[in-house]
């Protein structure tokens, strides 16, 4: 097995410093590598809301460390005392399930008798380490599905910036690249926040993987020219039937992929799967500030008076997904039965 973790280790988005959490400020990348130091749980919650840190797994990891900051701030390991702070943390972003998942994991730990600050520290560290190991495993599992000579298209940023390292969808792309399987890597801009244009192509370029940027709208033309055989994306929440909430535009890519006979892969740790949510119809889609569409770098780019609608996630029906790659294994053409089997087998 290729040691992907040592080959691709240049970026640390979420970095515990012993007494505070250091976050790589993703709002100013790729031109500035600025860090935000969070010394309180509220500071981490704000950083999550403001997109200093983003990407479902990275948010979950940050929430783990935020719980440790909360324990220290409150000088208590009592769940009842900490609950308001934990609830505030969960509310920082509504769509990403990993945030709630990490906080719930901390809640369970805090509910155990005799829970200590040291135990909370170790749990936060474990969340981070497990993510790293899961990414290595998913990268190899996903890459196995890709035939040599393939082109791939990805959306948003699912790399080291969005995780403890390596990435989910970008982890698969890194592994396939390391195995010399890829003839082309394309990334959509990912409007309105431009995660693809600002983060993904930068991350890949740093690793010597020459990705080509396209307008999100050019994906269908790219597919019609047979330049890509796989679309590979991450996920913010996966339902019991395999319906997947991810960055807005993912649904459109999945529909276009099916039309063109291009295959569609979702790569996400099992912590992203919410078996309590039967299907995508129940997922709350986060609406963000219309200013993300009407302004650019603080300057208005759209005529005064014009309104915008800015949903930042959408739901891809399970029926459009060819493979769901998790650290527990791969689900081919996910449905409720196959999703249950994934957990039963593990």
């Amino acid at each position: 097995m290729i040691d992907l973790l040592s080959r691709f280790d240049s970026i640390r988005a979420v970095d515990w410093q012993g007494d505070h959490l250091r976050l790589l400020d993703q709002r100013v990348l790729p031109f500035e590598e600025r860090f935000v130091e969070c010394r309180s749980p509220a500071a981490v919650a704000s950083a999550i809301t403001d997109l200093v840190v983003r990407g479902a797994p990275a948010i979950g990891i940050a929430a783990g460390w935020a719980t440790l900051l909360l324990v220290r701030e409150q000088r208590s390991c009592e769940l009842a005392t900490l609950e308001p702070g934990l609830a505030h943390l969960v509310a920082a972003r509504p769509t990403a399930v990993n945030l709630a998942w990490a906080v719930d994991r901390m809640r369970r730990l805090l509910a155990t008798p005799g829970c200590t600050e040291q135990a909370v520290f170790e749990e936060a560290q474990r969340i981070e380490q497990e993510d790293l190991q899961a990414n290595q495993r998913m990268a190899m599992l996903g890459s196995e599905l890709i035939a040599p000579g393939s082109g791939v298209l990805t959306h948003c940023n699912t790399g080291a910036l969005a995780t403890a390292g390596l990435g989910t969808a970008l982890g698969v792309i890194r592994a396939a690249w390391a195995q010399q399987k890829l003839k082309g890597v394309f990334a959509g801009e990912t409007r309105p926040w431009n995660q693809g244009a600002r983060l993904t192509v930068w991350e890949l370029f740093k690793d010597g993987i020459p990705a080509t940027l396209i307008a999100d709208s050019a994906a269908s033309h790219l597919m019609s020219e047979e330049r890509v055989q796989w679309v590979i994306v991450g996920a913010d929440r996966i339902c019991a039937n395999g319906d997947t909430a991810n960055k807005v535009g993912t649904r459109q890519l999945a529909i276009a992929a099916r039309y063109h006979g291009v295959r569609f892969m979702v790569v996400a740790p099992s912590s992203t799967i919410d078996m309590a949510m039967p299907d995508g119809s129940g997922i709350e889609i986060e609406l963000r500030d219309p200013g993300e569409l009407t302004h650019s770098r603080g300057v208005r780019t759209v005529a005064e008076g014009v309104d915008a609608w800015n949903p930042v996630f959408d739901v891809t029906p399970a029926g459009l997904i060819d493979a769901l790659v998790t650290e527990l294994g791969v689900v081919i053409r996910p449905n409720t039965r196959r999703m249950r089997d994934l957990f039963a087998a593990s």
Copy 2:
């Protein structure tokens, strides 16, 4: 019939001033209403290449007036003398068929014995007037297809800015709005040049039509929420079988519309139809400067070294088009036979 032309007449993108052509500079809209004065055919060709003027019909009209400038510059109405200048004009943009169509129309006129400068003037004027009348007719024909209470989504800019006035797809939207049929109008940003964000919502806002801007990628989510019943777009070139080249992203919208049961309308004058081109496989897709993706207002927004691919058109298969609206009539579910019937009947 509603007099759409007097109701919606605030914008003149291409305006003949007796001795020069005045173009509204679409590169600096919506914040500046600046004009470019073209006193030579070469100046018009540059303005077409540089997107001072854009939109297939507007480019055709500009080419008509450029021919008059050429005749005056060369002090000749002889086709052979003018041919190098005409060829230079046609080369200004490769995909829009109206440019070649307008120049060919001028070539035919110049080939008639005794052609005069006055005749060239009248032909340029006729191209413009015919476009205006065609738009009024298409607006009414297209609006007839729309049920009251509908929402519509459009792409790129197909309004007064792209034509002699009123617009093609935007003409239909204006008519349907005037007839109080629309409960919502949505416009995609239209990356990378942002015709939707900069031009379309501005144009509609000026007319009191409150359009809502969305990211191009949000179209499928919009459709899944049943907020739109029609996607309405223009065209740069339509093949004999109905395959349609239009702004990049159109293909993706058509695929998404079909998936969601949303109907898809193309609105374009018959001058856009190229019966000599059997289907979309023969259409040359213009690739523009990757800088349109890597820079914003002259400032680099993507990491140094990163490459981009920037096709600015794509082809929508005829099979995804529910209605093609021309000034000659409407073609429901276009194919080669029905396209021939359109011309046979007229």
